[in-house]
């Protein structure tokens, strides 16, 4: 039977010859990731073992990754105590893939996993974070789950009762125009199919444009696939995947490369010619409220944010540095930069990008989720407007329900920093 990418991965993870959309399976998990919400996972994990007479022990400490990123360094005593509880659990359970608040190996989970080679193509990855879809960039079936579901995975090593999702095939062709980036492609797609257009389904990416897209761009697209409701966004692995894993993630062991069957059955096929896309902006307060930058109108911006698990990678910082080098950010607009990991931070430091950004007036923060979800720093004032390369613009997202968040690529963000208004990077300054 011909299978899609997710069907093939789930067949392997359940030891079956074939599975099809709608089947209920219990796949083995290759990697189970959590961040600060591991504090709740630990609570639920211990609850499972209560009164069983069994000793609480995770199924495989080498397959669990915990990355502190959401509130680093801790913003409150409560968070610091949760982080302490996590460290104690990590030590007791001998979990090695633990990334603490450190300048040599810390960062955002959705960058730490790929850059350390923790995610391999064809595997099942779960994470207690909705943007776990990111790791589909490397050909994994990677999806977000809640804390109690993760506690169950920690106990059993499987995800229970998973319905094999249907797949939407997205075929991208054409060449990106100047200052049009993978972020614009995914915003365009979300605008086209809506915030629930792929609900309970997988988005599988194909086509000549995808083959040429670097892993950093694939991570952006897979990351935001969840904003169309998708369970996962998967890029069938190819030469670029192998290059990234061997050269950047330093994977030494075997890598199994396989794609979907050519005759696989898709729920829907969407074709996109990226040559026709211009820089896009998602307007408040839903991610599918997407407009070409030329149709947004004159919008004054108080805070620009470049970074996050969506667009905090070296390519993103490079675009911003190129646009801002030797120039000044408009008065009345502040700009915060959050590299996705300390590895990227160090690379950007060496290449001079951080100096270019700081000299222009940006504030470079430590890698982490920062202001994206409004829990830590960089909150907005009443009536303020943010333009951000992050992935969500929901009401209240950046810490204030009386503020507005627009989403865009690093090029649009940097061009807008110079003018203080949402600006088309192709037109440059004022």
């Amino acid at each position: 039977m011909a299978m899609t990418m997710v069907e093939k991965i789930l067949a392997r993870a359940t030891g079956q010859k074939a599975v099809k959309a709608g089947d209920v399976v219990e796949p083995k998990v290759s990697l189970a990731m959590s961040h600060e919400n591991a504090a709740l996972v630990i609570n639920q994990f211990l609850e499972i073992y209560k009164d069983t007479g069994l000793k609480p022990k995770v199924w495989d400490p080498d397959k669990i990754a915990i990355i502190l990123d959401h509130r680093v360094p801790a913003e409150s005593a409560k968070t610091a105590t949760n982080q302490k509880k996590i460290r104690e659990f990590v030590a007791a359970q001998k979990i090695k893939k633990f990334h603490d608040i450190r300048g040599d190996e810390g960062g955002i989970c959705h960058q730490i996993l790929p850059e350390n080679g923790y995610v391999l193509p064809g595997t099942v990855v779960v994470g207690t974070d909705s943007h776990t879809t990111s790791h589909g960039a490397l050909g994994a079936f990677s999806f977000g789950i809640g804390a109690t579901e993760m506690a169950s995975v920690w106990a059993l090593g499987r995800v229970l009762n998973v319905e094999v999702p249907k797949t939407i095939k997205v075929v991208a062709k054409g060449k990106f125009g100047r200052y049009v980036l993978p972020k614009d492609f995914i915003l365009y797609l979300i605008g086209k199919i809506s915030a629930e257009g792929a609900n309970f389904k997988v988005l599988e990416y194909h086509g000549p444009t995808i083959q040429k897209m670097p892993t950093s761009g694939r991570l952006t697209v897979a990351n935001m696939s969840v904003e169309a409701g998708a369970t996962s966004g998967i890029f069938p692995p190819d030469e670029e995947t192998l290059r990234y894993l061997r050269e950047e993630a330093k994977v030494k062991g075997p890598i199994d490369i396989f794609g979907p069957d050519p005759e696989a059955e898709y729920d829907q096929v969407i074709e996109i010619n990226v040559s026709e896309i211009e820089p896009m902006v998602a307007c408040p307060h839903t991610v599918d409220n997407v407009k070409p930058v030329s149709q947004v109108g004159r919008v004054k911006v108080d805070q620009i944010v470049i970074g996050s698990c969506t667009n905090g990678r070296l390519d993103d910082l490079a675009v911003a540095a190129r646009l801002l080098k030797g120039k000044k950010i408009a008065r009345g607009t502040r700009m915060l930069v959050f590299p996705a990991s300390f590895r990227i931070y160090q690379q950007a430091l060496q290449l001079g990008y951080l100096a270019d950004l700081v000299k222009a007036g940006a504030v470079v923060m430590n890698p982490g989720c920062g202001c994206c979800l409004g829990v830590h720093e960089g909150a907005l004032g009443d009536g303020e407007v943010a333009l951000s390369t992050t992935n969500r613009n929901f009401k209240g997202r950046m810490g204030n329900p009386k503020a507005e968040v627009y989403l865009c690529s690093p090029a649009v963000a940097a061009a807008s920093a110079l003018t203080g208004y949402i600006t088309d990077p192709r037109k440059g300054g004022k």
Partner: protein, 169 residues
């Protein structure tokens, strides 16, 4: 009979249900105080005990979109609310089922605040308007978890079954 205590539109995100700034609070015993914190009037009604258990929130499409934060389900479960929506985002739905929060998928639902609903397995009768609306079954994959009374109980059963079979072997 269940009364509609809050009517919401489409795409109600987890940031609306449980704002990110309260995410350092994780325990199901502590999260209810922040349920719909940015809808202060409703939040204070919940906290002051004016909303009886079994009351209903009615919403449009894609309820619970966004973050995987389980607080968004546990904070509503804390008040034993029922959520009726046209459809739900995947992770929120799974979290709700895992924690035993009652969700009803009702694609055509029409109801206003104050309406009395009778929720049956296959339909909802709006006693106030007299109209009936078809209910869609929750994903079949999740039924075993609902039947066990939530994922903690279900996982515990599985764990004990596995430990038992190992002992026998």
């Amino acid at each position: 009979m269940a009364k509609v205590v809050l009517k919401l539109g489409d795409d109600i995100s987890t940031d609306i249900i449980y704002p990110g700034r309260y995410m350092a609070t994780v325990l199901p015993s502590e999260t209810p105080q922040y349920a719909f914190a940015d809808l202060p009037e409703f939040n204070s009604k919940l906290k002051s005990g004016q909303i009886p258990a079994g009351s209903v929130i009615v919403a449009g499409k894609n309820f619970g979109c966004g973050s995987s934060r389980e607080q968004a389900a546990s904070c509503l479960k804390g008040y034993d609310l029922i959520v009726v929506a046209k459809n739900f985002a995947r992770i929120f739905m799974q979290n709700a089922i895992n924690l035993g929060l009652r969700l009803v998928v009702c694609p055509e639902i029409e109801a206003e605040e104050g309406d009395e609903l009778e929720i049956l397995p296959d339909k909802i009768i709006n006693k106030t308007s007299g109209k009936e609306f078809k209910v869609e079954a929750l994903p079949k994959a999740r039924q075993a978890i609902i039947d066990a009374g939530g994922l903690i109980a279900y996982t515990r059963q599985r764990l004990l079954a596995r430990a038992g079979s190992r002992k026998k072997a």
